[in-house]
């Protein structure tokens, strides 16, 4: 496929992209690190939104048992951080 890969830097840019695609009826594929992309049939989408750069822990309160992370954060990074608090 000759489509583009977009890496939105914030929610606003992401919302703009989705709104544009929805308005024009353009299908999008959304990926993280694409680790399971080889499974199943290929997705018939024009462009790709790549969320893998959106990483990082936004908020972590061990006493609340609540963790908020960016969508592209790896499970390994999450587990390391939780491990520090025995969780």
């Amino acid at each position: 496929m000759t489509g583009k890969t977009f890496r939105p830097v914030d929610e606003k840019e992401l919302a703009g992209l989705v709104a544009w695609a929805a308005a024009d009826g353009v299908p999008l594929e959304i990926i993280g690190n694409g680790s399971k992309r080889g499974l199943g049939h290929a997705i018939a989408a024009e462009h790709v939104i790549d969320m893998s750069q959106r990483t990082g822990i936004v908020d972590y309160e061990p006493a609340e048992l609540v963790l908020t992370v960016e969508a592209g954060t790896t499970l390994a990074a999450i587990e390391t951080r939780l491990g520090e608090a025995n969780q």
Binding site: E61, P62, A63, E64, L65, A85, N86, Q87
Partner: protein, 497 residues
Amino acid sequence: MTIAMPQPDTGVLAARDRLIGELGAIVPPDNLVTDEPGLKTYECDGLSAYRELPLAVVLPETTDEVARILDLCQRHRVKVVPRGSGTGLSGGALPLKDGVLLGLGKFNRILDIDYANRCVTVQPGVTNLAISQAVDHRGFYYAPDPSSQLACSIGGNVAENSGGVHCLKYGVTTNNLLGLEIVLMSGEIVRIGGKYMDSDGYDLLGIVTGSEGLLGVITEVTVRILPKPASVSTLLIGFDDLAAAGDCVARIIASGIIPAGLEMMDRAAVHATEEFCKAGYPLDVEALLICELDGPGPEVGELTGRVEKIAADLGARTIRRAASEQERERFWLGRKSAFPAVGRMSPDYYCIDGTIPRGRLAEVLTRMEGLSERHGLGVVNVFHAGDGNLHPLIMYDIDKPGDLEKAEALARDILTLCVEVGGVLSGEHGIGVEKRDLMGTMFSDEELKQQQRVKCAFDPEGLLNPGKVFPVLHRCAELGHMHVHRGQVPFPDLPRF
């Protein structure tokens, strides 16, 4: 009654006799209640300040009967209110004058017990406790344990996503649910999930759990069962001030320990229950914690020691470890008698249910004292501290003019406070009619409309339990829901968007 409900449909009221005749063709005579004394039994649920007589009560015992009743009601545009055991505390099963009350209490058989797959399948009217009792002899139990478990139905538990004392560690209903059969208002029977984890596609099980009877009638439930823990250790911990007790809860959790249950009672609750049942609680404390740890013996021993140390470091006045099963039961006796104990102190009480971040416990309880003084009604606090789920009990007297209104105003202020500190309107009792008009403090108009679009996908005519949960009822057409009839959209040739 001080809550506005949807305007009754005069056409439906006028055609009552015909409807009763048609319902009578679906269920046996014993399962159709139409006389006034009979209807009165169903006039309210656990939120007894609000009452209404339904048009009729029908008590189906099979999925097929439920499907035929819903189909009939949809064809005649008659509203339907599902009801399990009627122990709900937010008015979710409050009848409608022009609506059929669908009582599921007789639809109550255990269908399948599968130890190999650790699950049980039951009809919706089976009580929560009956599930645990059915598997007890093999050393299993169903984990979510609402205090009402002797009476409440599993269908009601799913509809409210109920919790209980041990849900801190084992999760609430949604975490212990594997499959459902539901009947839509159209009479269509739908199965979601089953004896396996993580069913494919969208999380419909998650959508229906906690839907308060607005999306479909639950006619079959498959739940997970667990082996009973090998050992249990229970601590009673008393503090001189609320802040230290709140810190203790936060520190236990933050250190990586998840107790099976972690409950708190304030001074008023400790005194009320001690007088009621003599559980042996210390009376010189401002806050009392009950912390229960369960699991393999060595683990429980180690964790109990760590909790004792955390409590001691924070200056706990009392730290007692139950030395025997009898003593453990005595620790719980007071907590479990809290409602009747308050019931003896005050002619009426109103139990509310909000959830806050654990870190704000002390602040919220202190501000609540101020609100209680301002409204002139006493408040007793007994609650699931481990998950920040408050249950303030407001004491009032319904026979005293103006008292109920005062209790409602105080409840509104407390719930608004919960939302203000970053919490939510309900922990486990649901929104129902009780908190319906407060939904705007938590959700924007757009968010509420989006939630209502989900409702429209299940019940486009808005006949299932209307007047509950949503403060404003939009017609589905207004929300841009497109009705697809037998797979065809109207005017298929016109461009849509």
